[in-house]
Symmetry: C2
Subunit: 274 residues, 2 copies
């Protein structure tokens, strides 16, 4: 992109004691992240998707030595044009702020947002995923990918142990975090909202007698998935209109919650004739 006035050269940081460097490291933890209402977005793919979804990146830290591809400069220019401040880091400085094992030289800071149930735009026959008490950021990120692939209208995260702005959620979601309509809410509020919208609820649990593929998952439906360690709460088991079981041939815990979610989502996709 051409500009009439040349853009100023980005700030260049080499000191590991620089206050910006220290803040970036702190943002791996939830408390400082929530206090400042910002979060980290690391990696080309993730930042690409943030820009595609017009997320207003505040800062974009980069290290040319770490670049893996050829499109990084275009990405930097696009981020700058969209209002992000560019800051160049030495390799040691970048390696200090990166949380990936093999950093690709790109790390952005973005503002947190908060969407409410009332902000969700639902299709005529809503297809919603509700997850309860998810503990591992990697699982939540993978679940977001699955919901994106399945074309869910929304993902509702109830009473999460991990927060949606955890760096590993952003990473595991490959940036789908920026495109899937996502709401964090309390289970009771969510159940009342689903009832008010006329959306049936189907809870996946190993204790159900009904095979997930034999239940009718067409029409307005919310699939409900429990946490890694405890499964679904009694609240959701009692609240749900039906329960589903995935058949399991091998070890009892061969499918983790992210895998069970994916299998259930795609059975719904099959039945709904996406």
């Amino acid at each position: 992109m051409e500009t009439a006035v040349p853009a100023p050269a980005p700030e260049f940081i080499t000191s590991l004691q620089n206050s910006r460097i220290k803040l970036l490291v702190k943002l791996r933890d939830r408390r400082p992240r929530d206090a400042a209402r910002i979060f980290l977005v690391e990696g080309y793919r993730q930042i690409r998707r943030a820009l595609d979804k017009s997320i207003p990146l505040l800062e974009l830290y980069f290290c040319r030595e770490c670049f893996l591809g050829k499109n990084e400069d275009a990405l930097l220019e696009e981020a700058r044009a969209a209002g992000a401040e560019l800051i160049e880091l030495s390799k040691p400085a970048f390696e200090k702020v990166a949380y990936r094992e093999r950093p690709d030289g790109l790390l952005a800071v973005a503002p947190q947002w908060r969407r409410r149930l009332s902000n969700l735009a639902l299709s005529e026959s809503p297809f919603v995923l509700v997850v309860e008490g998810i503990e591992k950021p990697g699982n939540l990120g993978t679940i977001l990918r699955s919901a994106d692939a399945a074309g869910c209208d929304a993902v509702i995260v109830c009473d999460p142990v991990t927060d949606i702005f955890n760096p590993n959620v952003v990473r595991a979601s490959t940036g789908v975090l920026f495109s899937v309509p996502l709401v964090v809410a309390e289970s009771r509020e969510v159940a009342a909202w689903l009832r008010a919208k006329g959306i049936r609820t189907a809870a996946t649990t190993p204790h159900s007698e009904q095979l997930y593929s034999q239940a009718d998952l067409r029409g307005p439906i919310a699939l409900i998935m429990g946490s890694e360690q405890y499964g679904l709460s009694d609240f959701w088991l009692q609240e749900s209109d039906l329960t589903l079981r995935i058949p399991m041939a091998g070890q009892a815990d061969s499918l983790n919650v992210a895998m069970a979610t994916l299998v259930t989502l795609f059975e719904a996709v099959r039945q709904r004739g996406l």
Copy 2:
């Protein structure tokens, strides 16, 4: 378990320079692993499953300070009774040999094995998974879990970039590596073997026109999945009796190879009426 003669106290290693410690660190790499025909099995769940499948553990390193549960001592005793040498490590020594971020104080050394196509015991209507050129150990481990849950007769790994004894395969498989019949072989050999056994081949590729849920996956069948980066080779695309496509609502790459494998496997399970 009671023994007439008390077992000798395990060796106790504190020095990070100890030759055993150095060897354990080396075993993270494929070359020394293959040269010695051994591999690492870290973690309670993984070692538990190795014992359940009568894998003859050679050595079991442990660190009481790192234990997370209450059953570790019983596990140690069971491993010793089965012939494993027990070696106790100081916490610094254990942290040096552990490859997990949060080690649980258990790390075993087991002998590698090699199974051939001719060793596979197939059911009357074989259900086989073939994966080609998988690069990431985490994906291969997850694929093994999926195949276990789906009740596959066998997993055949063609031309892998990662080896099946990589520590991250063992970890991501949660020890299913020890129970799923698994063969590593060349694609041409595998294709010939499948034909000779009368097993149809169904390749999943985004370029297929047939929806995976509309293809007939009953009867003797092998599902064929490609690599992360390149997808299926021309060889398998031409060799396969049918091709399948998973519908994708969101980002093109929302499902990685492990997720696509899981979805395809469970559609086959549904049709086959497990």
